[in-house]
């Protein structure tokens, strides 16, 4: 009995101590943990807030920097335009002469009462292939400046368009028709005129997303003066951050169609909503003031870019169709 009593006393004291220990532990944990959690939580909170404040400060600084850079870019662009003004006077006289001759021609056709027919014929006659112009330029190469001569040499050496993927020939052509393009005189930007006409390109090289185009011919009219293209090229670039090649940079050598003496370079930045590679027909933007005819006009407006199936393919399919019909 005594042993039993002692045994049960020991057991119950162990149990009591155990329970007490549990409570004590819990109490300890309950008393201390919240303090730890709170301080850790507060520290984390502080760190987060500090980080947020730092990030905010950084983004504000970055914003300021970008705004400053934008302002600098705008000033640089303005200065550039101002610098271009100086050159314009050299061309003004020539432009006047060409314009007078053009107007005289028009007057002459009015007097013969065949205005529409004649002007149509004149327009048809005026369009010349780039190759023809290159040949004529080569014939009078001694009168040309070395800039044009060097480019003609590069065209003859096959270097003008750059490296081409070997063994690949393309037959696709692209047509750029100027629908509504405003031309403002570089010397007096308020003096506005229009540019009409079209340019035709042949696909020169193609990769997964890049395109290179060779200028075939062009006929454009700016401020009533006709121009043809001697040579030119274009390639796709990306206008945004996605990397999609939705823009074209075009270079074209222009020659006036009247005196055939006024030479200029047309630079166009053409922007589309979709990758150029995917265009069948789409309206595109001509972006100014980067688009321009050297020292003469700044161009801005819209055009239509059309991919044309090659004549070879059409002929082939027609022939196939006919042969089926014959059978």
């Amino acid at each position: 009995m005594k042993t039993n009593f002692i045994f049960s006393l020991t057991l119950s004291s162990i149990l009591l101590l155990g329970i007490f220990g549990l409570f004590y532990d819990d109490a300890f944990a309950q008393n201390l943990s919240p303090n730890n959690d709170n301080s850790e939580f507060e520290e984390r909170q502080k760190e987060l807030e500090q980080k947020k404040a730092e990030q905010k400060e950084k983004s504000e600084e970055r914003q300021k920097e970008l705004e400053q850079k934008k302002a600098e870019l705008a000033i640089n662009r303005e200065n550039l335009e101002a610098k271009q003004l100086k050159k314009f006077q050299q061309y003004e006289e020539k432009l006047k002469e060409i314009k007078e001759r053009t107007q005289n021609k028009i007057k002459a056709s009015i007097s013969s009462n065949e205005i529409s027919l004649k002007s149509q014929q004149a327009e048809e006659r005026i369009i010349k292939k780039s190759e023809e112009i290159q040949q004529r330029l080569a014939e009078k190469s001694d009168k040309l400046d070395s800039r044009i001569k060097n480019i003609l040499d590069k065209i003859n050496d096959g270097q003008y368009m750059g490296v081409k993927t070997p063994t690949k020939d393309y037959t696709e052509t692209f047509e750029l028709t100027f629908d509504s393009v405003g031309a403002s005189k570089i010397s007096a930007l308020s003096q506005m005129s229009t540019m009409t006409g079209k340019m035709t390109f042949t696909l020169y090289d193609k990769s997964k997303s890049d395109l290179k185009l060779e200028l075939n011919e062009c006929n454009i009219v700016v401020d009533e003066i006709n121009y043809n293209c001697g040579f030119g090229k274009a390639r796709t670039v990306s206008s945004g951050q996605s990397g999609a090649k939705d823009s074209l940079v075009i270079m074209a050598f222009l020659e006036d169609g009247v005196l055939e003496e006024l030479h200029a370079t047309m630079k166009l930045f053409v922007n589309a909503n979709i990758p150029i590679n995917n265009i069948d027909q789409s309206q595109v933007s001509i972006i100014g003031p980067q688009s321009k005819i050297s020292n003469l006009w700044i161009l801005n407006g819209t055009a239509t870019l059309t991919k044309i199936t090659s004549e070879n393919n059409i002929t082939t399919s027609l022939e196939e169709g006919m042969s089926f019909g014959d059978k």
Binding site: E65, L66, K69, K70, E72, L73, N76, R77, N79, L80, K83, Q84, K86, K87, D145, S146, R147, N150, I151, D153, K154, G162, V163, D205, S207, K208, S209, D210, K212, K233, R235, V237, S239, G240, Q241, S242, G243, A244, D246, V249, M251, F253, A264, T265, K267, F269, N273, I274, P275, N278, I287, Q290, K292, S294, N295
Partner: protein, 230 residues
């Protein structure tokens, strides 16, 4: 003795001081920081006025004063401006005073390209147009697309998934930030059909023929035209 020292003084002055005082107006070489990156130049018969980058049009524009016909030699770090076709080097388009001009590339390294551009007396603006330029105005939002979306894109291109289902799926993934694309302005909601080229692109992307960016450009078209709402 006095005459001798006077002569010596004049000689030293002529040799060392006069060239320092009178700026050399017939040649100029130096380094200009463009977007904090050094661009090295050397102008024969001219002085540098400014160099700036127009990132929206991939143009490096140099303004200068020239006294005679000469050559501008410029080393352009590729990180600032480069011209490539696919992944190989392509030519730059170069204009001097608005006229297309041919140039010689005298050196090409993995980090820079050196061009020698001829100019005429009186020319003052050189434009070098590439295909890629450093653009500080574009935040480099990374494109993140889980790989499994390629399967869905492929099924969609093969006609196994309806247009509406694919659009809803993509819309959900973008809104839930499971896939990340560069910030794109949303257009007014519309029910217009999805252009074929986007579907073709999806198929090509699924087959690994085009880059993520090309596929994303299609999605951006859908967003700006209100077909996908994010």
């Amino acid at each position: 003795m006095n005459t001798k020292s006077l002569f010596l003084f004049s000689l030293i002055f002529t040799i060392f001081f006069i060239p320092l005082v009178i700026p050399n107006s017939f040649a100029d070489s130096g380094v200009v920081a463009v977007e904090s990156i050094d661009v090295i130049y050397n102008i024969e018969h001219g002085n540098m006025e400014s160099i700036f980058l127009d990132p929206d049009f991939f143009e490096l524009i140099i303004t200068m004063n020239t006294q005679e016909d000469g050559i501008l030699e410029i080393t352009i770090p590729r990180v600032i401006l480069d011209a490539t076709f696919e992944s190989s080097d392509d030519m730059f388009f170069v204009l001097v005073d608005g006229f297309e001009t041919s140039y010689v590339e005298s050196k090409s390294t993995p980090t820079s390209r050196t061009l020698m551009i001829p100019f005429f007396n009186g020319d003052s603006i050189v434009e070098i147009i590439g295909t890629h330029a450093l653009n500080p105005f574009i935040s480099n939002t990374e494109i993140i697309i889980p790989n499994w979306i390629k399967n869905n894109a492929g099924w969609w291109a093969d006609g196994l998934i309806e247009d509406a289902d694919f659009v809803l799926g993509i819309q959900y993934l973008i809104n839930e930030e499971i896939m990340t694309i560069p910030q794109t302005p949303s257009g007014q909601s519309s029910q217009q059909p999805i252009p074929n080229w986007i579907k073709n692109n999806a198929g090509w992307w699924a087959d690994g023929l085009i880059e993520d960016a090309e596929f994303v450009s299609g999605l951006q078209y859908l967003i700006t035209n209100g077909i996908i709402r994010v």
